[in-house]
Amino acid sequence: MGSLADRQAALVATLVAGAPLPPGFDDRLVGVARSALLRKRAGEVARHWPMLAATLQDRWLPVFADWAAVRPTRGGLRDGWDLARQLAAAGDLPTAAAEELAVREAGWRYDGTTAPRRRRWPALRHAGRTWVLQVAGRVWTLPLHRR
């Protein structure tokens, strides 16, 4: 049995990073706690990324839980950003959520490893046929309809 610090670290790793259950704990109850933490975390991400959660509908909780089970949180904003990018890359991001992501990408610079920062220069991003233009912090969305 290790120090309190080691044992607390092992427990948190079990709850948020998919590490194995430390000896002696109730597997079922720790699992219930892990699910409750994931639901709470999903709620925090949904507050930052309402379209991501809304457009995935019934899939939102399972998709988020699957993604988050082995990824400790970096805050609701970045968690949702990372997940939205992954879904976009896989072609699995619904249109309204893709536009939400494009608005963020146009307004902020986010390298995926450090905290997002506001862009100082204009930026243009698109999601499907919707274009997002950011100038001086203001954002316009431009639906371009092709004939």
Partner: protein, 276 residues
């Protein structure tokens, strides 16, 4: 400070931005609480909170991220912020939890239970003293609702809580919903725990709602307060009526009439005047 938690405030409700209008409209309100980490240490206060202060409503900062039960020393920047917020609010006391929220560089995202061991008592006591050294007002400590326990407890819950309070001189923030949740999930008697806690050390009381899920009662703060929790308020007040009882609601806000009904039910269960 044992036995002297200060003036009597009656029934209150936790201040949250989403229900600021509802809280402002409570004519009898004298006590509220704000999440310490939600305020800027250097101010200014949100106008709605400043208006409550101007009305003479006591506002208590409630910390949720200090991780006082963590094995490592509490982050000095977090302690400073906590103390600044207490001063900014002119708070009569401040509160935090008997819990940890991070370890090994990872954030748990919620309050986690401590093993009820001597080593954990020592860690908790050391961190509480670090906070008390910065804080100009009394600190109240809240035992949490735990979904699971550690495998190697050396103390029972009442012994663990009492030892931490005795060694720090801290007040008790007793959450009756947590008492109910733990007793229900462990199959123990919540009233028996009340009988073993130092009730005269209560700074104030939390009341909250929850729901059963996965066969476990969860202290959600997003569901109605069950009658069993109100019964526990009555049991508590029959033994020792605390100076204040505060409803915690953290989301899925119901219509104002339903929230007023919950505040009235707490008033009735405690014998304090209604504030609605």
């Amino acid at each position: 400070m044992t036995g002297n938690p200060g003036p009597t405030y009656g029934v209150g409700i936790g201040w949250r931005p989403e229900i600021a209008g509802f809280v402002a409209d409570l004519p009898g309100l004298r006590f509220t609480e704000v999440i310490a980490e939600s305020l800027p240490g250097g101010g200014p206060l949100p106008p709605a909170l400043a208006a409550l202060r101007a009305r003479g409503v006591a506002v208590v900062p409630h910390g949720v991220r200090l991780s006082l039960g963590g094995a490592e020393p509490v982050d000095p920047a977090r302690v400073r912020h906590f103390a600044e917020v207490a001063e900014l609010l002119g708070a009569p006391l401040a509160s935090e939890h008997i819990a940890f929220v991070r370890a090994g560089g990872l954030e748990a995202g919620h309050l986690l239970p401590l093993p009820r061991t001597r080593e954990a008592v020592d860690a908790m006591v050391a961190n509480v003293r670090r906070v008390q050294a910065e804080l100009a007002v009394p600190l109240a400590l809240e035992p949490i609702a735990a979904i699971f326990d550690w495998p190697d407890d050396e103390l029972d819950e009442a012994g663990f809580i009492t030892e931490i309070l005795d060694r720090t001189g801290a007040l008790l923030l007793l959450d009756v919903a947590n008492v109910y949740a733990n007793a229900r999930n462990r199959g123990t008697d919540p009233v028996a725990l009340l009988d073993r806690l130092p009730l005269e050390r209560i700074g104030y009381v939390h009341v909250a709602g929850g729901r059963a899920h996965d066969g476990i009662y969860h202290d959600t703060h997003t569901d109605p307060v069950p009658d069993a929790v109100l019964d526990l308020v009555t049991e508590l007040c029959a033994r020792h009526r605390p100076p204040a009882l505060l409803l915690e609601r953290d989301g899925d806000y119901p219509p104002a009439a339903a929230l007023r009904g919950e505040l009235d039910a707490i008033a009735e269960a405690s014998g304090y005047p209604t504030i609605t």
